[in-house]
């Protein structure tokens, strides 16, 4: 398939892909050649081509996570040539196109590396630590009953915008993967500040930040040292301002909550 762009020349690439049978096995980078890759393909489609080749040869395909393939689910997590989601800012791996690479390139593909994200197999990692952090407080408890009227709770536009920006986090974990400290603070801060900004989030405001930070520490993520790699690599542009808000919320909660533990 030559792609839709008639000028797009197909390319041949060398891939160095992390292969690891299971959580406990040792892994290593394995070299593969892929040929006739259209520049219009996404990175994942290129990996599909590789896997088809491998299947034809009777070898195990490379395991990697993906779902929506349109940049919203956050599961297509690959560390490509030393960068989370590859060299292109503001994209997930499924939105990264092969035209960003050149014919003859060697591309190194590794899984996210964090003690809290163990490798399941090959490029697929277990990000359930994020789920447990959300379960610890990243929600608003709502009573059942009738549907509330629209605009019953007034939220100023500027606040709604900031909360919405924070809410766009897709939970991909690129922040953890790219952080020197494997810190999850950008992820946690996005949820904490989204809900702290909104009236609906006030009831659980203090317990939320206390419990989410406690769970984050328990999972073994590192502590933020304000390096900024996370925000630079985040596919949806969650800003570092959220981490300052998280710190502020944490300080205020610890100083004033009724939690004595």
């Amino acid at each position: 398939m030559a792609g839709s762009n008639p000028n797009a020349k197909p390319m041949d690439l060398t891939l160095k892909v992390w292969r690891q049978r299971n959580r406990t096995a040792d892994g290593q980078l394995v070299d593969y050649q892929v040929k006739n890759i259209s520049p219009d393909m996404s990175f994942l489609e290129m990996l599909d081509v590789l896997n088809e080749d491998l299947l034809h040869k009777g070898e195990d395909p490379v395991a990697f996570d993906h779902d929506c393939r349109e940049g919203i689910c956050g599961s297509c997590n690959l560390y490509i040539n030393g960068r989370a989601h590859g060299p292109e800012p503001g994209t997930t791996t499924c939105q990264l196109h092969m035209r960003k690479f050149k014919d003859g390139d060697t591309i190194v593909v590794e899984p996210w590396r964090a003690a809290a994200f163990p490798v399941n197999r090959d490029l697929s990692v277990d990000r359930s630590a994020f789920d447990r952090i959300i379960q610890a407080g990243g929600y608003v408890s709502v009573n059942t009953g009738g549907v509330p009227d629209a605009n019953e709770i007034p939220v100023p536009k500027s606040i709604a915008d900031r909360a919405f920006d924070a809410a766009t986090c897709i939970g991909c974990g690129a922040c953890v993967a790219s952080c020197k400290n494997a810190s999850a603070m950008l992820f946690v801060s996005a949820k904490v500040s989204q809900l702290a900004l909104l009236p609906q989030g006030q009831v659980e405001r203090k317990t939320r930040v206390e419990n989410m930070v406690a769970q984050m520490d328990k999972e073994g993520f590192g502590a933020c040292t304000n390096i900024g790699s996370c925000a630079a690599e985040c596919p949806v542009g969650i800003s570092l301002e959220n981490i300052a808000i998280l710190n502020r919320e944490f300080l205020a909660a610890k100083a004033t909550s009724n939690n004595l533990a």
């Binding site: 590794e110 590396r113 020197k180 502590a223 304000n226 390096i227 710190n247 533990a261």
Partner: protein, 224 residues
């Protein structure tokens, strides 16, 4: 009080101690720099020796000295605790290829290294000047104050000493270029109106303070 110790040993709590002690150490740098500017006075060290005699004997200053020591101890302790935790968080297998340099400034990723250089400098510095002024046997100057000035002047005639001082100030400048603004971020003291100012101020602060300190050994080596 377990809530307090739990809060302070959490990842954010440790960072908050780092930032408060870091900013406290910055305030110390200002005092230390202003006082030491008397080294540039062309009076054979009389004013500098009066100043250092005051700093070494005044009970208020002597008390604050312990606070300063505590500031360093906590800052360094938390730096070690955080760096250990953060190294472990990557897990046993790191990246084979990591181009983290493309997404972040060097000094931000090397605060521990820069801090270690500062610490080594600090130990040499304390041994040579502080220890000998406090516990050593300096000759008296014309006011019969301990003549620390002559010790400083002769130390800064040795090239390796001057080199160590200047390198340490470069390391400190980089440490603070990241650290100053980082401390405000850690404390949650950010605002769209003021954060740009804090960033520029921190930058200027780092360069001016460290250039001021570095000027002292250079002055004695080249101009005295």
């Amino acid at each position: 009080m377990s809530w307090l110790s739990n809060a302070l040993s959490s990842s954010i709590g440790r960072k908050i101690i780092m930032s408060i002690t870091g900013l406290f150490l910055c305030s110390f740098l200002v005092i230390h720099l202003i006082g030491n500017l008397q080294l540039f006075k062309n009076d054979g060290g009389v004013a500098f020796n009066i100043y250092s005699h005051f700093m070494g004997t005044n009970p208020v200053i002597r008390t604050i000295e312990f606070v300063l020591l505590a500031g360093f101890v906590f800052h360094i302790y938390e730096a070690i605790a955080l760096t250990g935790r953060n190294k472990a968080a990557r897990g046993p297998q790191g990246y084979k290829v990591d181009n983290i340099g493309q997404n972040s400034p060097w000094q931000s990723r090397n605060m521990g290294l820069l801090g270690t250089i500062i610490l080594i400098f600090l130990l040499v510095h304390l041994y040579n000047f502080f220890y000998r002024a406090r516990f050593g046997d300096l000759d008296p100057d014309i006011n019969s104050n301990d003549d620390l000035y002559t010790l400083v002047a002769s130390s800064f005639k040795q090239w390796w000493y001057v080199l160590l001082y200047v390198l340490a100030q470069v390391a400190l400048a980089y440490h603070l270029i990241h650290g100053f603004k980082s401390a405000f971020q850690t404390l949650g003291l950010t605002h769209r109106k003021y954060t740009p100012f804090i960033t520029y101020f921190g930058y200027a602060f780092s360069i001016i303070v460290c250039a001021g300190f570095a000027a002292m050994p250079l002055y004695f080596f080249f101009l005295k």
